[in-house]
């Protein structure tokens, strides 16, 4: 089989194998900050940025560790790079927009423990993507994460005013909505290939 085209890699990461709805990566912010469309969009943008940088770094680290023949250091070096990138983004947002910094709250430092970002670094290594492919893959995954976050926050805003039994409110309801959304995204499975 030929190498997949760049366009297919993007579609694959964004829609067909959406990181949140098919791989269950990044569920914590997905459940936590998806209350409002506005915040969800900005969170998505922040995650996408961290993804892009850490994906490029992960590519470099992987190449270097292959060279010195120390694959067991992979996981540790990936997580260190991600943690420092998040720190950078945090300082940047704090300086540029204190209001956004407050509304993201605890979930900003928690991007470090966002599985989607480490997952991205691990998947691209496992798939053996080249430099350009890594960047496209990161962009696709970021776009897919943002899309899922915005979709679910839109649905949750509508459900605020619905008449739902008290015990079903909160996480359980969000999970059911996410399940239906995940079913919908399965429709993309026929795309590309």
């Amino acid at each position: 089989m030929n190498d997949p085209s760049l366009g297919y890699i993007f579609l694959d990461a964004c829609l067909i194998n959406n990181f949140v709805l098919a791989y269950f990566l990044g569920i914590c912010p997905f459940l936590g900050v998806s209350g409002k469309i506005d915040t969800a969009g900005k969170m998505g943008a922040a995650v996408m940025f961290v993804m892009l940088i850490s994906s490029v770094c992960a590519y470099g680290i992987h190449a270097f560790l292959e060279m010195i023949n120390a694959p067991f250091l992979q996981l540790i070096s990936f997580i260190v790079v991600i943690a420092s990138t998040v720190q950078l983004v945090e300082m940047f947002i704090k300086k540029m927009s204190p209001a956004l910094f407050r509304s993201l709250g605890i979930f900003l430092p928690l991007i470090t423990t966002n599985c989607a970002i480490l997952g991205l670094a691990l998947f691209q290594t496992a798939k053996g993507y080249g430099f350009l492919e890594c960047i496209v893959y990161a962009l696709g995954a970021g776009a897919g994460f943002t899309l899922a976050l915005i979709l679910i926050s839109g649905l949750r805003e509508q459900l605020e005013f619905a008449d739902i039994p008290k015990f079903a409110r909160g996480t359980a309801l969000t999970l059911i909505v996410a399940g239906i959304l995940s079913l919908t995204f399965m429709g993309f499975a026929g795309l590309g290939s």
């Binding site: 098919a22 990566l25 943690a83 691990l122 015990f167 909160g170 999970l175 059911i176 399940g179």
Partner: protein, 209 residues
Amino acid sequence: MSSVVETNKSNLPSSTDEFIKGLWKDNPVFVQVLGMCPVLAVTNTAENALAMGLATLFVLLMSNILVSLLRNFIPKQVRIASYILIIATFVTIIDYVIQAISVDLHKSLGAFISLIVVNCLILSRAEAFASKNGLGKSALDALGMGIGFTFALLCLGAVREVLGNGSIFGWSVFADSFQEWIVMILPAGGFFTLAFWLLLFNYWKERKV
């Protein structure tokens, strides 16, 4: 089960409390809703769920012990980074151990073993408990939380495997005429099953009040 736990609790020493709270009252999955990624991703069969639960239990226990031992030496400013490094070390170990025990299992769990590093449950126990308490208490806390986590994973994995595959731990439980609910082993089934368990828990709590 709950009534037994609660009657015991009042007259037991506090260290037992640390162990028991993770099992039921503060169950990491059903009550705290932490560590959702592995909960949903690898619970398509009961076997995967059990393996994942045990791997997490090991990492949680070892990192809690080490964090508790080092809690007076780690400077406040860099504590999160240090915890993550400690956790990543143990995850690398368990990754190689699973590979040595069963290559098939390693394949079916895939990247999710490495992703134990970013399981919020482990970091939150290190930060909220092990960094403030002694060795014994931290180890008990980790054991309780880990077993509670494994129990929750098994609850999900069992339901999904029985309905989606007609079997449990690979043994088929239905006659051949059983039509599998394919959706249960697909991603959407994970969301639905967890939602169903949470609904059940909330309903039960509501009724008791």
